[in-house]
């Protein structure tokens, strides 16, 4: 058998990864250069994607090269970029100034917990940029230098920024504990914006961005391809339930535009969640449509720059307007909801051509979404269940012992904590919470968010996934949990790896998948297969009828 490569989880021995030393090294952090070890960094953006997007300084380069081929005036670019952002974002300016280095954030970061690198303590991650800020923008820093934590912007600083701002998943857990609410996500976003000014980014984020700009979704699925995909899902739904369902696409005049992350079109187990949406909408008779143009809920612009968030997000309202829908329904996704909740309306609104969302099934008016006009699928389903509009048989999920992973963004940039729990408790009988310091607003990242969920970054993903994995293992040992439910497409893609490594035997599932499996559909045949087409409710070959 071939030796596993560094981008496979088998390459990493558990006991070696668990040997984490949280004590900092002897050399001061300013004098400890970054080491690009395979498994801890992500391939840089290919020039063609930057060119397509019209972003500065496209070129092919590698972090392991001595020379990163930075533009000649790179220092000036960073200086001007910082000044511009200090003037545009109060958050950035205040966060540069008020940290007291109390250290409360230090052991809150999953990468620090699982890796022990002191520069992954949120306070030090911010100091990476704060030190340059002090040198260039404060008098004390100019005069006293290192004593007061100021340092010159050198080539090594840029390398360090690239390494550590792509070892932050912008999960905001540290911000929950900071006495001043200093938000490392905000710092990392600024750091990445500055790096992009020099043409430094990661391909895992930027290829999806380029794809999304062109084809409407991160995966680059073209319109006819999306139609094929959804038709394929419909066939599976029919095989499982005996029910043939419609797939409304780009349908003008539909009441609702439904948008979900494209990960759900391609990668298991997200695909089953997608089938869940389709079955659900069919069952309740929702007048809705998919869009091929706005076929992405997620927004890797969030991992790139504020401008790119806006460029990609613009499709949602534009398409809602073109199709003449009344409101937008959004699927299970993490960072998509950060964008929808915190940026969309400000950037691309006001959506005055839409109506305040009203569930056509229950009549509930979603007052909390009266300005953005976009409702979260869990709010929508919770409302359906509350009004008794779904016929549910939770015992159909009895083979699952379920725990719930709060995704970072819905938890800490929105606060949608109860709806998914309410739904889960109605569609399964065995539900167990993970320890309290690992859920809700204190939830741990999957270790692969914010554009880091790629295999060449495997060591960091496993390390960053340790806190979550360890909590899953805890409920696995204690209650026999075998399913980790989550409402985020990146989670569905990355947590399976985390579970396979730290809590083998636990599978990952979307919530709507579980809803659809528990849902008794009108006219369904005797159910034997779930939406994964697994014979969980009896042998499908046995007695075809009665």
């Amino acid at each position: 058998m071939a030796e596993p490569s560094f981008d496979s989880m088998d390459y990493y021995k558990k006991d070696e990864l668990l040997e984490v030393d949280h004590k900092p090294p002897r050399t001061s952090w300013m004098k400890t250069p970054v080491e690009f070890r395979p498994g801890t960094w992500i391939y840089p953006t290919k020039a063609k994607h930057l060119e397509y997007l019209g972003m500065p300084n496209p070129r092919d380069w590698s972090p392991t090269d001595e020379d990163w081929k930075l533009p000649d005036n790179w220092q000036e670019i960073i200086f001007n970029g910082m000044r511009e952002r200090l003037d545009k974002y109060r958050s950035f300016k205040v966060f540069m100034d008020i940290c007291v280095r109390c250290g409360a954030c230090a052991d809150k970061c999953h990468f620090f917990i699982g890796g022990g690198d002191p520069k992954n303590m949120p306070v030090l991650r911010a100091e990476l940029i704060r030190s340059v800020y002090r040198k260039d923008f404060t008098t004390a820093g100019k005069l006293l230098g290192r004593m007061v934590g100021a340092r010159k912007l050198t080539y090594d600083v840029i390398k360090e920024w690239f390494y550590y701002f792509y070892q932050c998943t912008e999960c905001r857990r540290c911000s929950v504990f900071c006495p001043y609410g200093i938000d490392t996500a905000e710092i990392t976003m600024m750091g990445r914006e500055l790096l992009h000014e020099l043409g430094l980014g990661v391909n895992w984020a930027m290829e999806p961005v380029a794809n999304c700009f062109r084809t409407g979704n991160h995966l680059g699925i073209r319109p006819h391809g999306l139609k094929d995909t959804l038709e394929f899902f419909a066939e599976d739904i029919e095989e499982a339930t005996g029910i043939s369902i419609d797939i409304p696409m780009n349908k003008k005049g539909a009441e609702v535009l439904f948008i979900t992350p494209s990960g759900d079109f391609l990668a298991d187990p997200g695909t089953y969640t997608c089938m869940g949406y389709m079955a659900l909408f069919h069952e309740i008779g929702l007048d809705y449509t998919w869009s091929t143009y706005a076929s992405e809920g997620g927004n890797f612009g969030l991992f790139t720059s504020h401008e790119m968030i806006k460029r990609l997000n613009a499709k949602m309202y534009a398409e809602a307007k073109r199709l003449g829908v009344k409101w937008i329904l959004g699927g299970e996704c993490g960072h998509m909801w950060r964008v929808v909740n915190q940026y969309m309306d400000t950037m691309n609104g006001p959506a005055d051509f839409l109506e305040v969302p009203k569930s056509p099934i229950t009549g509930t008016v979603f007052e909390n979404a009266k300005s953005t006009k976009m409702v979260h699928i869990m709010e929508f389903i919770a409302d359906l269940i509350k009004h008794g509009k779904l016929k549910l048989d939770a015992s159909r999920n009895d083979h699952l012992k379920v725990t719930f992973h709060d995704s970072c963004n819905p938890a800490r940039s929105m606060g949608i904590l109860e709806e998914p729990r309410y739904v889960l408790k109605h569609v399964c009988n065995n539900f167990y919470e993970m320890p309290e310091n690992t859920i809700r607003e204190q939830t741990f990242c999957c270790g692969g968010g914010a554009g880091l969920g790629t295999d060449e970054n495997m060591e960091m993903r496993l390390r960053g996934g340790l806190p979550r994995g360890s909590a899953v293992k805890h409920v696995q040992d204690k209650y026999g949990v075998n399913t980790l439910a989550t409402m985020c497409a990146i989670d569905r893609a990355t947590l399976q790896t985390v579970c396979d490594y730290w809590a083998p035997g636990v599978g990952v599932s979307g919530i709507t998948e579980m809803v659809a499996n528990a849902m008794i559909m009108k006219g369904e045949k005797k159910r034997k297969l779930n939406f994964r087409l697994e014979p969980v409710w009896g042998d499908p070959d046995e007695d075809e009828e009665g």
């Binding site: 911000s175 504990f177 062109r214 003008k252 460029r311 709806e419």
Partner: protein, 356 residues
């Protein structure tokens, strides 16, 4: 090194006060000029810094949500950790500023490699230390108003009496004196002895703590170890606030040292991390309601960006869409006809979003 440097700096300040008053007799400078200068620097400095921050807009509403948001009417909202209106934000800020809500959440990670377990326990020491320090400082500061007022307001007297409740020693020891010195000492020791904390600490962190410790100990000495002419000092204080100051000849150099360190603190404060006392009010992750989907937030510098319009998209994929039976705005024939009809016509899909 950074600790030693800070210590030397504070000792130098003490020496300066000694040389200035004890040797050179510059009482006017240390007793009158510097106090006025430092208060002016303090006030103007704070205003200037806050204006500097306030000058930068808040383009997005980005509260860190720490509880259930306001959503469906039957789901209980956590109004203080995830506020949805101004009043609730005020509640959140009060909890944050007066009770250090976020710090109270603090946990301690315990890594048990062998068991593959990471566990988290509550960790309240930092919170206790911070609360003890800030509140004792406040009381000490408030107590000092007795020097600046005649008659002394009843609340100041009451504070003083409660603080000296145990009536131990002559003059009575104040509880807050010990709490203050103890808390500052704790904050300093944890910085020195927790390896991660020592690793991140700068002169910016050690210096203010040592300065405070210097102020605390000189104050303690003045009250309990050295004979201090309180009447003379009160005369000076009253003179300062009534703008008719006269530096007392009787007061010891130690008193001037105490005063000098306070002046340094005042002048240092606006340019240091101590500005967190004002900055916390301006922190967008705490001082904004999470009602984003209900109330639109306006970004003053929102600018048009290059987007990929539907027209451009359909132009690229029209044939395939049409062949797959997907609805299109223009059939391939229509598009071709348009193109041939007016090659000079409007190919208006410039790709620029004209909003705002």
């Amino acid at each position: 090194m950074k600790f030693i440097g800070s210590l030397v700096a504070v000792l130098l300040l003490v020496l300066l006060a000694y040389l200035g008053v004890g040797v050179a007799g510059l009482r006017e400078l240390f007793g009158v000029v510097l106090p006025y200068v430092s208060v002016v620097v303090l006030l103007l400095g704070i205003v200037w810094r806050v204006l500097c921050w306030a000058k930068s807009p808040v383009p997005f509403k980005i509260p860190t949500t720490c509880g259930q948001e306001k959503s469906l009417p039957w789901i209980k909202q956590n109004k203080l950790d995830n506020p949805s209106n101004g009043l609730q934000v005020v509640g959140r800020m009060i909890l944050e500023i007066l009770f250090f809500r976020s710090l109270f959440r603090n946990t301690r990670m315990d890594f048990r490699g062998g068991e593959e377990k990471v566990v988290y326990g509550p960790s309240k020491w930092l919170w206790i230390g911070a609360i003890a320090f800030h509140y004792s400082f406040l009381v000490v500061f408030f107590r000092h108003l007795r020097f600046f007022s005649e008659p002394v307001p009843w609340l100041v007297k009451l504070t003083q009496d409660v603080d000296g409740f145990f009536q131990l020693g002559v003059p009575a020891f104040y509880i807050t004196t010990f709490v203050f010195i103890g808390a500052v000492g704790y904050l300093l020791l944890r910085r020195l002895f927790i390896p991660q904390l020592r690793y991140i600490s700068l002169v910016n962190d050690y210096f203010p703590l040592l300065l405070l410790l210097g102020i605390g100990t000189t104050g303690f000495f003045l009250r309990h170890l050295f004979k201090t002419d309180v009447v003379a000092i009160k005369e000076l204080a009253l003179g300062l606030v009534s703008f008719g100051p006269k530096a007392p000849v009787e007061a010891s150099w130690l008193f001037y040292c105490h005063l000098f360190l306070v002046c340094v603190l005042f002048m240092y404060l606006p340019f240091s991390k101590i500005m967190h006392l004002a900055g916390v009010f301006l922190s967008p992750s705490r001082n904004m309601p999470n009602n984003n989907r209900a109330v639109r937030h306006v970004n003053p510098w929102n600018y048009p960006v290059k987007v990929h319009t539907y027209e451009e998209y359909e132009d690229e994929f029209r044939e395939k869409m049409y062949a797959a039976g997907l609805p299109v705005e223009k059939t391939p024939e229509q598009a071709a006809a348009e193109k041939s009809a007016g090659d000079n016509g409007d190919d208006a899909s410039s790709g620029t979003d004209n909003k705002e």
